[in-house]
């Protein structure tokens, strides 16, 4: 019996085994590469930026001197932006998702809308900036305002929100719709009282993740002309504004080392904000899983 296993070409097998082990290590190494890169990124930013992470950063306006510079106007600008975008993109995105999942007839036009949305999700963000420049800034005459920025960013995140909301709505069991209809509910009553409450936390997860992407976006806002030097807080929708990523870019573009470190401090603030939003999204997701 022993011979049965020994007769095989042992050299060939051990060679293949060694091969397998080497590749396994290579694959593991590749996987670790991503983790190492992320760690290097975080370490670089924290070591560069931790020294300047003081209250001045939050209370001062940008200045020609790095030591006196802060990002108050950028932080406030980003928050205003968020407050404008969030309701707008929520209503438009969830509305579109409800239409597509609950109301749309299954015809070519609906398929076209669906294809269009997935195509839009792949359009580079800078192209949305060009659209915003032509439509909101020029055609609508909104100039380089907070409103132009918020509308542009809304269009940018809309496809992501629609797709995420559609998935959330599709995950609501049919039985829950049937239960509502069987009690004499109309379509809208069923959607608003049964389908939406069942899917709202998953929808919110998608919305928050999309908004967190928007908060980190730089390019489209540069194109529509969000100013790089803003030493005041916007007082109306039509004021010029700046946001955190643009302020950070402005600092990175300076040759002096002090501004580079300031940029790193700004990045820490931006990343903390993103972490908070992502944690909120994950918590909502966990809550949602209990509901299904």
């Amino acid at each position: 019996m022993n011979n049965l296993f020994q007769d095989a070409n042992r050299q060939q097998i051990s060679g293949r085994r060694r091969n397998d082990l080497i590749w396994r290590i290579l694959f593991l190494g590749a996987t670790l590469f991503g983790i190492v890169a992320l760690s290097a990124l975080i370490i670089t930013i924290v070591t560069d930026g931790i020294a300047r992470l003081n209250p001045d950063l939050f209370t001062n306006y940008p200045s020609r001197r790095a030591s006196a510079s802060g990002m108050k106007s950028a932080i406030v600008g980003s928050l205003y932006m968020l407050c404008l975008m969030a309701p707008l993109s929520f209503v438009l995105g969830v509305g579109a998702a409800i239409y597509l999942e609950e109301y749309a007839p299954k015809n070519r036009f609906t398929r076209l809308i669906q294809l269009n949305i997935s195509t839009l999700a792949g359009v580079p963000s800078i192209v949305y900036g060009i659209l915003g420049l032509a439509i909101f800034v020029r055609t609508f005459g909104l100039e380089r305002s907070l409103l132009s920025g918020a509308l542009t960013m809304t269009l940018l995140v809309l496809p992501i929100i629609i797709v995420a909301s559609q998935e959330a709505i599709r995950a609501v069991p049919r039985a829950r719709r049937d239960a509502s209809f069987a009690l004499g509910a109309t379509k809208w009553q069923t959607v608003s009282r049964s389908v939406l409450p069942s899917s709202i936390s998953a929808i919110m997860t998608g919305v928050i993740l999309a908004l967190s992407r928007a908060i980190g976006e730089t390019a489209p806002l540069i194109i529509i002309g969000a100013a790089t030097y803003v030493a005041f807080l916007p007082e109306s929708l039509f004021d010029t504004f700046t946001v955190m990523p643009i302020q950070i870019y402005n600092w990175i573009a300076r040759p002096q080392e002090a501004f580079q470190d300031l940029a790193a401090s700004g990045i820490i603030v931006l990343m903390i904000m993103l972490v908070i939003m992502n944690v909120a999204a994950i918590m909502l997701r966990n809550k949602y899983q209990k509901n299904i």
């Binding site: 694959f27 670089t44 239409y99 580079p124 420049l133 009553q189 390019a219 870019y249 990175i252």
Partner: protein
């Protein structure tokens, strides 16, 4: 069958009452929400097209695609797209060289080797890489990667294609790894078990069974990542420089299409000027390339999908 029993005297009033207003107007409102996305597409295509056409009235299309020099802001002006295209391609190729092997290898590891627990920890970490804002990557390229590159190749400038390309590559790794992993996880275990039963090693199963079976999804992920790298803006703006340069040397400073659009937007350009027009002509070129790639990715993943 049997004799008819008497009818019940009960009566239901089922006549239509007032139809609720919500049920009349909500479908219309929701349809309008959905049509915003269609209007967005129309808006993108219309603005790019109309502004590009008026741009080509001033700058002949032969020059745009024929000239090898791009200097729209400095006299003598020249509007040849090739330096920007080559800059974009150089960055994209470097990024792909970094991201394809690493992304694919990570996907194979996560799908074929890693335990469920490891996968549960590693996948979200890779997803964090996808969520890092590009401006942060730009900073990382400039302050971390560039010094390393310059210590290896001392002649390299502060702004160079290599650093930016490597970091764009890091940025698209999670895209390749997670989409490819999805495709590989969809390969049924029966295929794997068949190969294991014949005495294949894990590596042989992964490369000879799973990867070929998931090939359409893997290729689609490459194409999408390619498209994403082409459209990437802030990393290249920060780290690759702003010198339109028809070169294949990754150690030189170059300019991509996206970085050009940013550069010209930062300045105060008058509406209707030729400089203003270049934004749309370059934007149109970028849009068409990414659109074709995205459609190709969809086609590949649909057309060549393995049916299990």
């Amino acid at each position: 069958m049997n004799q008819q029993p008497p009818k019940s005297s009960a009566r239901l009033d089922l006549t239509k009452g007032k139809t609720s207003i919500a049920d009349k107007i909500m479908p219309v409102l929701l349809f309008l929400c959905a049509s915003v996305s269609v209007l967005t597409t129309i808006g993108i295509v219309y603005t790019l097209l109309s502004e590009t056409i008026s741009f080509f009235r001033i700058v002949p299309i032969q020059e745009f695609f024929g000239s090898l020099k791009w200097s729209p802001l400095i006299n003598p002006k020249s509007f040849g797209i090739w330096p920007l295209l080559s800059g974009t391609m150089l960055i994209t190729i470097i990024a792909i060289i970094v991201a394809v092997p690493i992304g694919l290898a990570s996907a194979i590891y996560l799908s074929e080797y890693a335990s469920r627990r490891v996968r549960k920890i590693v996948k979200p970490i890779l997803e964090v890489l996808a969520g890092v804002p590009t401006i942060v990557y730009g900073y990382f390229a400039l302050t971390f990667i560039t010094p390393i590159v310059r210590s290896i190749f001392p002649d390299t400038g502060v702004f160079n294609a290599l650093s930016a390309g490597i970091v764009v590559g890091i940025m698209i790794i999670p895209m390749i790894s997670s989409l490819s992993e999805d495709a590989m996880s969809a390969v049924p275990d029966s295929l794997r078990n068949g190969a294991y039963a014949l005495g294949a090693t894990r590596f042989e199963v992964a490369t000879k069974i799973v990867v070929p079976a998931a090939l359409s999804g893997i290729v689609a992920s490459f194409v999408l990542a390619f498209s994403r790298a082409i459209g990437e803006t802030m990393i290249v703006t920060v780290a690759a420089g702003s010198t339109p340069n028809l070169t294949a040397n990754p150690l030189e400073s170059i300019q991509t299409m996206t970085a050009y659009i940013v550069q010209v937007s930062m300045g105060d350009i008058p509406h209707g000027s030729v400089e203003y027009g270049t934004i749309f002509a370059v934007g149109m070129t970028l849009f068409v390339i990414t659109l074709v790639l995205n459609m190709l990715a969809q086609y590949v993943s649909k057309r060549f999908r393995e049916e299990y």
